[in-house]
Subunit: 68 residues, 2 copies
């Protein structure tokens, strides 16, 4: 089964922000891809198993940003 | 967070099959939408929380079909 989780991350302003968020989320177990749209703040996470909302929230916080 | 899970269901042949699969999957907690493409067997499930693969597998089995 393929899983996609979509979140909105606040306050990303540049490519560095995008990289930081991608790096932390990519480290979550079973995550296979992270796609970020900087303009909208939309982050689409693909995974081979369901990912707990809390894991994603923690990764975004670790990167220094906030899930809206 | 919005969640989408995509599966392939074998042996759906008509609109009745589609309805049966939709009905069972829609009954899973937190599921907000089920979109079926009969030709490809692709079933896209949207939910407000992550859905366990096993719950989806059981729903499809209950409807009389198989997750490929």
């Amino acid at each position: 089964m393929s899983h996609t989780t979509t979140i909105i991350v606040s306050d990303m302003t540049c490519g560095h922000c995008v990289s930081a968020v991608k790096e932390e989320i990519s480290a979550i177990d079973n995550v296979t891809g992270v796609d970020v749209d900087l303009a909208s703040g939309s982050v689409s996470i693909t995974s081979t198993a369901p990912i707990a909302d809390e894991s994603i929230r923690e990764a975004v916080t670790e990167a220094g940003y906030t899930v809206r």
